[in-house]
Amino acid sequence: MAARLALGALGVLAGLYGAVRLLQTGTDNVTAALWWVAGGVVVHDGLLAPVVVVLTVLALRVLPAAARPWTAAAAVVVGTVTVTAIPVLGRFGARPDNPTLLPRDYVRNWLIVVALVVVGTALLALVRTARERRVSPGPSTGRPPRGR
């Protein structure tokens, strides 16, 4: 309990230090920053998370049981990696005077990443299903993959 209290106190101190540093950047800067601080939570909790819930419900209705775990795995990888790629996909920071910044065809490369993940997951699914059939002949049990 003492360790937890010390950890919590250290956290409060670090957080307050950050708050003071933020306030020292001036009212205009703090106001501009707070829109983005709050905006991130609103976009995640109010938009992204509900959309994922709806997509999950739809996927559960459409997909056969055997395909669900693999589809979920591919969707998690593609979805989260795509979020990391938003700035390069939009090329928002590109500048005509600096061709060394954002030099690639990011849409093409993103499609390659998506294709690799989808094909990789499908191959893994086929291998696992074949192996399970060999172990227990009969119709597919639709068992989710066993991670290691």
Binding site: R21, V76, R104, P145
Partner: protein
Amino acid sequence: MRTAPPRESDFTSRLRSPAVASRVGVALGVCFALAFVTGVVSHWAQAQTWWIPYPTAPAWGYRVTQGLHTLSGIACIPLLLVKLWTVFPRLFQAMARPTTRTGLLQLLERASIAVLVAAAIFQLVTGLANAAQWYPWGFGFIVTHYAMAWVAIGALLVHVAVKLPVIRAALGADVESGALDRPGTAPRSAGLTRRGLLTTTWVAAVVAVLASAGNTVTPLRRVSGLAVRDGEGPQGVPVNKSAESAGVTETARDPGFRFAVVGADRTVELSRAELEAMPQTSATLPIACVEGWSASGEWSGVRVRDLLDLAGVPAGTDVAVQSLQQGGVYTRTTLQGSFADHPDTLLALRLNGEDLDIDHGFPCRVIAPNRPGVLQTKWVRSIEVQA
């Protein structure tokens, strides 16, 4: 169909469990701590006055810490998204009245989580956009990202302190154990197992890192299709700020250009030809940017120490480096005495066997070991003893 907000009990997935959240949380905590520490190192390197001098060795130090900073941040994005997904039902948790002790504690904990989530998302979004030089906001990136880093790490420590018993219990039990699950959690999974989700999450983080690691890890350049740089540029080195955007295309090409070393009692002015006539030194040093990309180059030019000797500047003196660039945070920077005296710290005239490209700082630029790229001042006009 009900139109009221969902209740915590409406979420029945086996995957939204402390067993998963704590495991992803450990990885996320490690990546956040790594990003925090390397970020503090970067601010230390960019300071203009030092309590503790920033070291000149190893030459590749900043390349590694800043590469780790951006890559651990990238890894945090899939980890945070999965983590938030696993705990999303908690957002709809029934609250006790805030006038009771339980209610007050609940309220405090939720407030600390709100700060943590807000600060974490803010750090990852602003860091990610900054790496692609995208600034869609009205605040100063450097000061705000730094202040919010302390808020995020503080809220993270509080969160770990509050959750420690749950974390320990979860990590001590099998991942499929239901001991810590919310009431109503499904006994079987409709899709992925918990182990499957964890494996998937690690794969997502690794894919995200590999897709941009080529920014700094040279052998991965061909693999990292989503990297903001491909390692190419004039003379084989990418450019962060072009001569055009710095507004120096005229002044840097002016044939009457004179570089000046300003000592306490004398000033020495040198043309580029005179600099070329001085003893030349070569050094293989990286340009390592705060945005996380880096590239190594073979630089040659005059040792800064030799130039300071011409103006009688004693060893160990901090000096100011002034650029031709007008305006901007980095047009005048401090070169710590230990860097100015380092034998590899050059006023570079050539890069990879050619005269410096104007976008790399022609007619002359500073290059020193273990320094952030923004402090490797280009289009150097003068090096001066500080008043």
